[in-house]
Every structure is written in C-alpha cells, then in structure tokens.
C-alpha cells in the first residue's frame, strides 16, 4: 500500500506496492462522502436488503473511492461517481450471494413479528426481485429513488443514454406487469 502526496508537482505517484491517494484528496473525499453517505447507504440497502452487508459495502465504497482519485477528478458529477462505485459494489455482492439467496429469503419470510411497514417493504423488495435482474434493479432505484438522469446512468454504466432509456422502459413494464399478475396472461 502506498499513499503519495506532492507539493508543486502535477503528478507524484508511488508504487510501494500500490498508490492509494493523497491525504489532501482523502480530506476532500471524506467531505464529499459525508454529504452523500446517507443516500448511498440507502441505495446499498435497497439493493442488497441486508443491513450488515450494506454497512460493509458502504465502507467498501469509501475505500474504493479513496483509491481512485483520478476517477473523481474525471467525474462530471461527483455524486454520480460515488453512486457508480456503490452500484458496482452492490452488484458484485449480489453475485457473490446469489447461491444463498433462497435461504436468505426463507429467513426473511420467517419473521413473525413484522409490522405493516416491514410487510410493505418486503412486498416491494420481492416485487423488485421477481421482476428485475440485479442490473436493472440498480438502474430503476438510481433513476426513480435517487433521481439520476439517463445521461448520468449512462456515465455510470458505460452504456448510451438511449440504451439506458430503453432498459428503464422495459424495467418499468416488467415491474408493472409483475405488480398485477392478473394482467400477465389471457
């Protein structure tokens, strides 16, 4: 691990073995992170549906961001950059966890003292999970709960804005059809 900071030089990087960030950058990032921490935390929780995992991922997002000072420097929108990292972390975590998913769902359903709020939450989670793949879920949450535009989502995902709009349209249809199973077939 290596952290390098330069006075006067445009570039000072260390391989010792790997550069992370300058401390000045860390201070800037901390300020940015504090500003968006709550929303990013919510997004992670919305994605992975597991509080402890979401907390770990939130910490991971911060450390990943800390290692990518160039990413922030090149980002058009700092918040979109952070959410992009969060999206990748959440998708990776979901991939890792996929095989445990059924067991996890059984455990969630087993809770007998769920309040109406909990049940409403579970219903939304289940609707999302049965109607959308994780990648589309990530897009839908970022678009409709966190307000990112198709252009910003395109920047986060490496797709074109048109492709994002198309995916969102398909995802909306899928969500609405799943919400009303009676409409699914003849």
């Amino acid at each position: 691990m290596s952290v390098t900071k330069a006075d006067g030089a445009q570039l000072a990087r260390g391989i010792g073995p790997r550069p992370i960030a300058s401390n000045r950058f860390a201070v800037q990032l901390e300020a940015l992170f504090v500003q968006h921490e709550r929303q990013i935390g919510n997004y992670l929780l919305q994605m992975v549906r597991d509080r402890e995992l979401a907390e770990d991922l939130l910490q991971d997002v911060f450390h990943q961001a800390l290692r990518d000072s160039a990413g922030l420097a090149n980002a058009r929108s700092p918040s979109a950059w952070l959410f992009g990292i969060a999206r990748n972390k959440a998708l990776a975590a979901l991939r890792r966890r996929r095989r445990f998913w059924r067991a996890h769902q059984r455990l969630v359903r087993r809770g007998s003292d769920q309040s109406a709020n909990d049940q409403e939450l579970i219903a939304v989670y289940e609707l999302l999970e049965r109607s959308l793949a994780p990648d589309d879920r990530a897009l839908v949450l970022l678009r409709y709960l966190h307000g990112f535009s198709a252009v910003e989502l395109a920047g986060m995902t490496g797709r074109t804005p048109a492709a994002i709009r198309q995916r969102l349209a398909r995802a909306r249809t899928s969500l609405l059809v799943s919400e009303q199973p009676d409409l699914e077939g003849p």
Binding site: R18, I20, A26, L29, N42, D56, Y144
Partner: protein, 229 residues
C-alpha cells in the same frame, strides 16, 4: 401528463417504501472476510501483510533498511518547513480514511539526496507505516517493506519541459531496480538503500504530467528478481 410520465410516477410510488428505510452508517467493525478482502485490495500481495505485521510489531518500518535503521544523527533532524510539509499531509484527528497515522518526525532518518539535491528522509508513522519524504516535493507512505514488496517507487513529474524524478528506497539485499520510461530501459543501482533517476525533459502530451513508467523489476543480491505490480 404523458403515458410515460404516468408510468414513471407509478413506479416512484411503488418504490416509495424503500425511501423510508432507516439510514445505515459505514461499518465501524469489519467482518474478518471483509477486512481481508479490503487489505488484499490495498496491498499488492498477501505476503506483504505478514511482513507488515511482523515489521510493525517487532522492529518497526525502518527495519531491514540499514541506512535508516541506526541511531539518530544531526543530519536526521527535519527543518520546520519539512515538518510543516508532513503535518499538512496528515488527516485531522478523528477523520476516517487515514491509513497512515501521525508521522513520527523525531524518528526520521536521512537516507540520501535526489538528483536535484533534495534531501530524502524515511519517516515512520504511529500506525507502523513507512513514509518516504522528498523535502519540499512529495511524501509517499505505505506498508513497511518486505521481501515481496521490497521497494517504494515514487514518480514525480510536472508537465511538458520538466524532468521527471523517479526514486525510492529498497530493503537490504536489493541491488538494482529496472523499469522502462519514455521508451527507454533504465536500470538503477541501489546505494545505501536508495535509488533515484532524473529523466530528460518531458516532451509528450500536455494533458499528461509526465512519461509513462512500467512496473519496476527488483533485482536481489542472490540473483533473484521480482516485478512489482
């Protein structure tokens, strides 16, 4: 309102319960698996971790660097402007994200000069990290050196027309460090645990601060070598 807007509004309402989740905070504690994963991402090799913990707990980050692992001398004393440089790099107390810790300026050791005459110091940190300080230029901090990660490697460049500086500190037993920069193969001898190189004036793209530099290969006195990535 168009049909699409109505649909979007409906989706927002559908998802609204997820907006009422209780906020989470960054985990203070990390599960063993997560911590291992995080550190593995930070350091180049897992072996370095073992070396770090040994070095930090038993001998300190100057261990294995003979030119620095010695009693203090007058030359090791840092001037006020150099101390100020170090302090400006430290994160305010209590701020998360500090992976280095307070620099122990009283334990600094002068190890040599860079080609431009600047003094080069090694400064251990309170968290057991090793900082390489080029006075008035830059500070690079990282884990203590190990056989798997036996050098620090800092590249300092300042745009077109400036001469890039490449320098570092090596563990005892490292005889040379080789890399390519600006299309040229460079092999630097290690003297008193220090290697340094000043390249020709950079004539590349103005959008880049300096020439590219390949991953360095470290050659040991026993004839073995490793490439640090």
């Amino acid at each position: 309102m168009t049909e699409m807007n109505l649909e979007e509004e409906h989706v927002r309402r559908l998802l609204a319960p997820l907006d009422r989740l209780e906020p989470i905070r960054r985990s203070g504690r990390q599960r063993p698996g997560m911590r291992a994963g995080l550190i593995a991402a930070i350091v180049a090799v897992a072996l370095a971790l073992i070396g770090v913990s040994l070095a930090a707990t038993q001998w300190g980050p100057l261990s294995g660097i003979s030119s620095a692992d010695r009693p203090p001398s007058e030359r090791d004393k840092l001037g006020p402007e150099v101390v100020a440089q170090l302090r400006s790099d430290e994160l305010p107390a209590g701020l998360s994200g500090d992976q280095i810790g307070k620099r122990l300026v009283e334990s600094a050791r002068w190890v040599g000069n860079l080609p431009d005459g600047r003094n080069l110091y090694l400064v251990p940190s309170a968290d057991g990290r090793l900082c390489v300080l080029a006075a008035g230029l830059s500070e690079s901090c990282g884990d203590a050196l190990t056989r798997a990660a036996p050098i620090t490697f800092t590249i300092s460049a300042n745009g077109v027309g400036s001469r890039p500086l490449i320098y570092g500190v090596a563990l005892d037993g490292v005889v040379s460090v080789a890399f390519r920069t600006g299309g040229v193969a460079v092999t630097l001898p290690v003297r008193n645990n220090v290697f340094a190189y000043e390249g020709p004036p950079y004539e590349g793209s103005p959008s880049q601060p300096g020439p590219g530099v390949s991953a360095p290969t470290v050659n040991f006195s026993d004839g073995t070598s490793i490439t640090i990535r």
